[in-house]
């Protein structure tokens, strides 16, 4: 009951005019970046990070959260209408969503995707509201060794579930941690790797790096992109029929549970939730042969699962301070900019922010449901905009984003450098997410390891003697070493399917 009251109060806070405006802008921007292939939610959040200095903390965070779940809604629109997923989490929707569109049932497909997303997202939020405070209370027992082990576990989980080879992802995570060590040593204040360059004394900022990696590099990759060929028939009848609802009710329920469970585990992400949901629905269906040919269950299940996972993905960050991917790492950075340290004390110290954010997601999901269906015509028009009008604007926003954060040309230079590096990384199939996570948790990990070593007078056994730390270390070691022995990674079939797509 206490939780529900807090959630209701959070919704009231989020409904304040300024918060509502930022939330509205967030979900609208999220849908837009979800619709546009190329610039994802990480890129959009990266471009908006410098705004943190000017905007009120809660309103600003509400906007960033809105971008993340708004993108899930937008991604499905392009999957259904163009057969091009705006987001990786909408890849699976292409199979049955586009098939439905070709049969003249684009409307019910879009409608069911929106309703499923709304139901999955909203129910998952209640799960977050009940689970996150309990997990945070557990996190209060953590000392430096537990934190170090938890962060190592988070990094390893992301590496284990990376799309490409594990060693490449591990290299990126370590490279991110190395970059994080540039600047003044957090313990002794000794300058490290600064080459007497002034801007490097404060370290390499998260903002210019992520703007380069997610904004500029996408531009460089997509310079030859043409506007998508959009489904031309008029989209009619967005409301699903009674039969559609009968077919979709169970997949929506299962998608919610599956998405919530998968999203809340560090390392497992939204994409895996959608593939798992699709596989489950196909297995349970009386007509598995219809999947891939326009089965509405193939849209309802995964679209519900991706929003549920997108919501429950906040649990490790908000309750333990553990970012689990590039988007949560960026939000971690945004919280730090406002002096809000994510971790077990976050909910206790900043209840208005925590409950306000959860409340905003309930309102945001409702806005998206009301907003998205009537705006489908607008999204179709936006999809037809040639890329040569979009890329100069993305470059401009990238430069402004990098410059206004510190009013320094040096940060623009860092953005350019990481933009080109990001381009090369994508060409050579190196993922950016482990690097960003390494950059974000690097300083915290270093401090936790060094404090642990001081506590134990130099014995690394401190990470194995304490039960909680030992569990995280055992999981991390299992994920690092088991592929060497078995040449297999659990759940990797799903990731490989995604690569084939």
């Amino acid at each position: 009951m206490e939780t529900l009251v807090a959630l209701a109060q959070g919704a009231l806070t989020a409904a304040a005019p300024l918060n509502l405006l930022y939330g509205f802008v967030g979900v609208l921007l999220g849908t837009l970046v979800g619709v546009l292939p190329g610039l994802g939610p990480a890129g959009a959040i990266a471009l908006l990070l410098p705004l943190a200095l000017h905007a009120p903390p809660l309103a600003y965070l509400i906007m960033l959260f809105g971008i993340t779940y708004g993108a899930q809604y937008g991604g499905s629109t392009t999957s259904i209408l163009v057969n091009i997923p705006g987001e990786a989490s909408s890849v699976i929707t292409c199979l049955d969503g586009y098939a439905m569109a070709r049969q003249g049932r684009a409307g019910p497909a879009l409608g069911m995707a929106a309703f499923g997303s709304f139901i999955g997202g909203t129910l998952a939020l209640f799960g977050v509201a009940f689970l996150a405070p309990a997990l945070a209370e557990f996190g209060l027992h953590f000392g430096p060794p537990e934190y170090a082990a938890l962060m190592l576990f988070g990094l390893t989980a992301l590496v284990y579930l990376a799309q490409g080879p594990m060693d490449k992802a591990l290299l990126m995570a370590l490279f991110g941690a190395l970059l994080a060590s540039i600047g003044l040593d957090p313990v002794s204040g000794t300058p490290r790797f600064t080459f007497d360059i002034l801007i490097l004394r404060d370290g390499i900022g998260l903002t210019p790096v992520v703007i380069g990696l997610f904004g500029v590099s996408e531009v460089l990759l997509n310079l030859d992109a043409k506007a998508g060929e959009v489904f031309h028939s008029k989209v009619l009848g967005l409301l699903p029929t009674a039969q559609d609802w009968r077919d979709s009710t169970a997949p929506i329920a299962r998608g919610t549970l599956l998405g919530f469970f998968i999203g809340s585990i560090p390392g497992l992400n939204v994409v895996i939730a959608t593939f798992a949901s699709y596989a489950l629905e196909k297995k349970l269906s009386k007509h598995p042969e219809k999947f891939g040919k326009g089965a509405i269950e193939g849209v309802a299940g995964p679209e519900t699962a991706n929003n549920a996972a997108s919501c429950s993905g906040w649990i490790p960050l908000l309750s333990l301070g553990l970012p689990t991917g590039s988007v949560t790492a960026l939000i971690f950075g945004a919280l730090m900019i406002h002096g809000l340290a994510p971790g077990p004390l976050f909910i206790t110290n900043s209840p208005e922010v925590f409950w306000g954010l959860l409340g905003s997601m309930i309102i945001g999901n409702a806005i998206l449901l009301v907003l998205n269906l009537p705006l489908i015509g607008l999204w179709i028009k936006i999809l037809r905009i040639p890329y040569y009008y979009l890329f100069p604007l993305i470059v401009l926003f990238s430069i402004i984003g990098a410059y206004t954060g510190s009013a320094s040309i040096g940060d623009v230079v860092i953005t350019i450098a990481f933009g080109f590096l990001g381009y090369l990384m994508k060409k050579f199939a190196y993922e950016a997410a482990p690097m960003v996570l390494g950059l974000v948790v690097g300083p915290l990990l270093e401090t936790a390891i060094r404090r642990s070593m001081i506590m134990s007078r130099g014995s690394a056994m401190i990470f194995f003697n304490r039960p909680i730390a030992a569990v995280f270390m055992a999981l991390a070691l299992f994920m690092l070493l088991s592929p060497l022995l078995t040449r297999r990674r659990l759940g990797h079939e799903i990731i490989e399917k995604l690569e084939d797509h």
Binding site: L393, I416, R450, R457
Partner: protein, 148 residues
């Protein structure tokens, strides 16, 4: 087609530098790790993985499919950004934005001069209105300070 080993070699070079520099910063004693302890450890791990990749990929080739025209466009975009960064203070935000947008549309997107100039003027005007007038972002006004 290039030999795939070139990438692990870059990693090895990076690991060697950070490892050496980390060692020089001081690893500290066991109970009191020094400033170089963490970067040295990370560099050591990078070196080990790079070495393993180097051995495994010794006979393979890396495919890096980028055409000449693609490279030309990429270089144009990067040079444009670098020039923007250099000229932002002396020329100011509005003028720099106009020049960058016009250059991109004319040289990278290969559109007509009229369309490029019109698009650039529109973007520069609205960007100035939004970021300078509305958001009060601290952007240099440069040559047009007397007008804006």
């Amino acid at each position: 087609m290039k030999k795939a080993v070139s990438i692990p070699l870059y990693w090895l070079f990076l690991a060697s530098y950070f490892g050496y520099a980390g060692y020089n910063l001081g690893l500290g004693a066991g109970g009191r790790p020094g400033a170089g302890f963490f970067p040295f450890g990370a560099a050591l791990a990078i070196g080990a993985i790079a070495l393993a990749r180097l051995i495994r990929l010794a006979s393979e080739s890396a495919i890096f499919a980028t055409t000449t025209s693609e490279w030309r466009r990429i270089i144009c975009v990067i040079v444009g950004m670098a020039a923007y960064a250099l000229l932002l203070d002396p020329l100011g935000f509005a003028l720099c934005t106009f020049l960058l947008m016009a250059a991109y549309l004319k040289l990278v997107a290969v559109q007509s001069l009229r369309l490029s100039l019109g698009f650039a003027a529109g973007v520069a005007f609205f960007a100035h209105l939004f970021f300078d007038s509305l958001l009060n972002a601290q952007l240099p006004r440069g040559l047009l300070a007397w007008l804006l």
